[in-house]
């Protein structure tokens, strides 16, 4: 007698995936087309079509808006210029489009999930563990089923990225909402706010720094998925890294890797900057 009771999940899972592919594959491919034509391609076309100096200017302005310091904004802009110098501008724009769309989708899905989790203990007990599993599961495990269901290319890469990167956003939205000062909420309540008024006028604005910290982490995780996503045919900087590694062109791989790091730093500074705007006020509030 074996100590381990034999248990084989492979066949049922394989059959489930197969039947999903046959039954819903076509419809999901339509969804793929929708995201692609409606969201990603227009953005990508705009980014790739715009003159690089316009993009650099936007980066500079955003960085300045976020940090209010030219000492930060200027180096970030130069870093992006540098990526162009590597001959990777086009790849950079493709990656940026990918990361932006993934982030937008993550926010669209993650913010409501976070709100739901914050308002219902029972739902939180369901949502958060599921997210943890999604985040911990080795990416390739759902990357290949994503290809089966959505086809090769950017959309399954984006969806896999969303699955992977949504977790911190939901968590920090939930946390931010639950940390909103109960006195302030009670006061708002006493004036006869509806749930929506409370959520939009009080809770979300006060949870904003926490939510933006979540967005920041989500973007970072999305960027870290870029290379993995290239393994299912997403183009951009990740593909450069992958091709560099796979053809033993270490220089090419490292150069593209460096470009990803520079992009990450730029996005990180900018999103963190926006999250910090209201913090001094909060700190003072705590002191009083």
């Amino acid at each position: 007698m074996d100590f381990f009771v034999p248990l084989d999940l492979r066949e049922p899972i394989n059959q489930a995936v197969d039947s999903l592919v046959v039954r819903y594959g076509d419809r999901l491919h339509v969804l793929n087309d929708l995201i692609l034509q409606g969201l990603l391609l227009p953005l990508e076309r705009a980014l790739r079509g715009a003159p690089p100096w316009v993009i650099l200017l936007v980066v500079a302005l955003l960085a300045w808006r976020a940090t209010r310091r030219w000492q930060v904004a200027l180096p970030l802009t130069v870093a992006c210029y540098l990526i162009g110098c590597f001959g990777l501008w086009d790849a950079l724009m493709q990656t940026l489009a990918l990361v932006l769309v993934a982030t937008v989708l993550a926010v669209v899905a993650g913010l409501p999930l976070g709100i739901v989790a914050a308002h219902s203990r029972r739902l939180r007990a369901v949502v958060l563990p599921v997210l943890d599993v999604m985040q911990t599961l080795p990416t390739f495990v759902y990357l290949i089923p994503a290809v089966m269901l959505f086809g090769l290319g950017k959309v399954p890469a984006i969806l896999a990225t969303v699955v992977y990167a949504i977790c911190p956003l939901v968590r920090l939205t939930d946390l931010g909402l639950r940390q909103v000062d109960p006195d302030v909420q009670e006061a708002a309540h006493s004036f006869g706010t509806t749930r929506w008024q409370m959520l939009l006028g009080v809770q979300l604005p006060l949870a904003w720094p926490s939510i933006l910290a979540g967005v920041n982490q989500t973007v970072m995780m999305a960027l870290s998925m870029v290379v993995v996503a290239s393994m299912i045919g997403a183009r951009g900087l990740g593909e450069e890294v992958l091709a560099g590694i796979q053809t033993l062109d270490v220089g090419r791989g490292l150069q593209a890797g460096l470009a990803i790091v520079l992009l990450a730093v730029a996005i990180d500074r900018i999103t963190q900057g926006f999250g910090r705007v209201r913090r001094p006020i909060r700190d003072e509030e705590r002191r009083s």
Binding site: D26, D33, I144, P145, G151, I232, G233, E239, Q246
Partner: protein, 344 residues
């Protein structure tokens, strides 16, 4: 420290016991050096590597290290004797191999697979339709690669909707370069996207998914493979093999390649020159190492249902097909393998 002492002792013991039998011994393995074998990452490569490794370990008492990587890395490493053995080498297909062979750094041995194919494929239903699933032929006239420009809408790439999508090999595979050159040679660069799927698993998943849904798909593929055994594909005809033209296809830097089908596949075991000269005994085994194509396809189909089970298929093969593997090695070696593979 302790571990290396241990393994030396172990190798010594093995060598002694092999010597005591006064039988066939491998000079390389006798010397205590491990045989580094390329851990190939496609199905047939995985299985053949497992078979070779089993013979070396169980039959010749060798210490085998599997070094997983992709073909380009492997061929480079083989030329430098960083690894000694590649179980499935498509001889003559890559610049790296050709140069190394010309310089005498690598040798090809035996005929591991006979009758392998490769080329550009579409599912059979695209051309002929399929009654059981009520799929109508979408491109009844499609026969050759020269027909492809007409069908670019059929194989539409939704990321670049005015082009078709050709599924190439992942970058880093030798075939990726050849196919990219072929796209140029066949004048398809304007009508088709050269789509590199990023990994073999992604390529398989895309083809399998399209096939299950009865959708058109155009891709590079080869046999022996599980998918080839499982699904019905039609190979598109290409210009007949022409040596001069094929040279322009294997060289990525050729701006104006000319079209040519792949030469008949010569699939051999690749070994480093150093290993080749040092160990005639193992080279003798590799010279006889061959797996019949139908058997291989069946084994691969078995693997496809249980991914990652090359080892399982290998064990089954040694347990059930002595008629094949006994011919590879001298009797005493066969005895040792048999001793490890009978019963349960």
């Amino acid at each position: 420290m302790q571990r290396s002492t241990c393994s030396t002792l172990f190798a010594l013991a093995l060598a002694l016991s092999a010597g005591a039998a006064a039988a066939t011994t491998s000079p390389w393995c006798q010397s205590g050096k491990p045989v580094k074998v390329a851990g190939l990452n496609w199905e047939s490569g995985e299985l053949l590597t497992e078979l070779v490794a089993t013979v070396l370990e169980q039959g010749y008492g060798c210490r085998v290290e599997r070094v997983p990587s992709n073909t380009i890395t492997i061929e480079n490493a083989l030329a430098q004797n960083d690894i000694q053995l590649v179980a499935e080498e498509w001889v003559g297909r890559s610049e790296i191999w050709n140069k190394a062979a010309a310089a005498g750094k690598v040798k090809a041995v035996g005929n591991v697979i006979v009758g392998a194919t490769e080329g550009w494929y579409v599912p059979e239903y695209v051309v002929k339709g399929e009654k059981t699933r009520k799929i109508r032929p979408a491109a009844p006239q499609l026969q050759a690669v020269s027909d492809l420009p007409k069908y670019k809408q059929l194989f539409r790439d939704n990321e670049e909707p005015d082009k078709g999508r050709f599924l190439n090999c992942p970058s880093g595979w030798t075939c990726e370069g050849v196919n990219s050159q072929k796209l140029k040679a066949y004048g398809l660069t304007d009508s088709y996207v050269n789509f590199r799927p990023g990994s073999g698993a992604a390529l398989d998943a895309a083809v399998a998914s399209a096939y299950q849904r009865g959708q058109p798909v155009l891709f590079y593929y080869w046999s022996p493979t599980a998918l080839m055994g499982k699904y019905r594909f039609i190979q598109l005809t290409e210009p007949a093999y022409n040596e001069a033209c094929f040279k322009t296809l294997t060289d990525r830097n050729q701006a104006k390649p000319c079209g040519s089908a792949a030469p008949e596949a010569v699939i051999q075991a690749g070994v480093s020159r150093v290993f080749h000269d040092a160990d005639p005994v193992l080279i003798d085994f590799l010279g006889k190492f061959n797996v019949p194509l139908p058997l291989l396809n069946a084994a691969l189909a078995g693997m496809a249902n249980n991914p990652g089970s090359a080892a399982v298929q290998s064990r089954r093969f040694f347990a059930t097909r002595p008629d094949i593997w006994r011919a590879w090695v001298p009797d005493d070696v066969a005895q040792r393998i048999a001793a490890r593979n009978t019963g349960k």
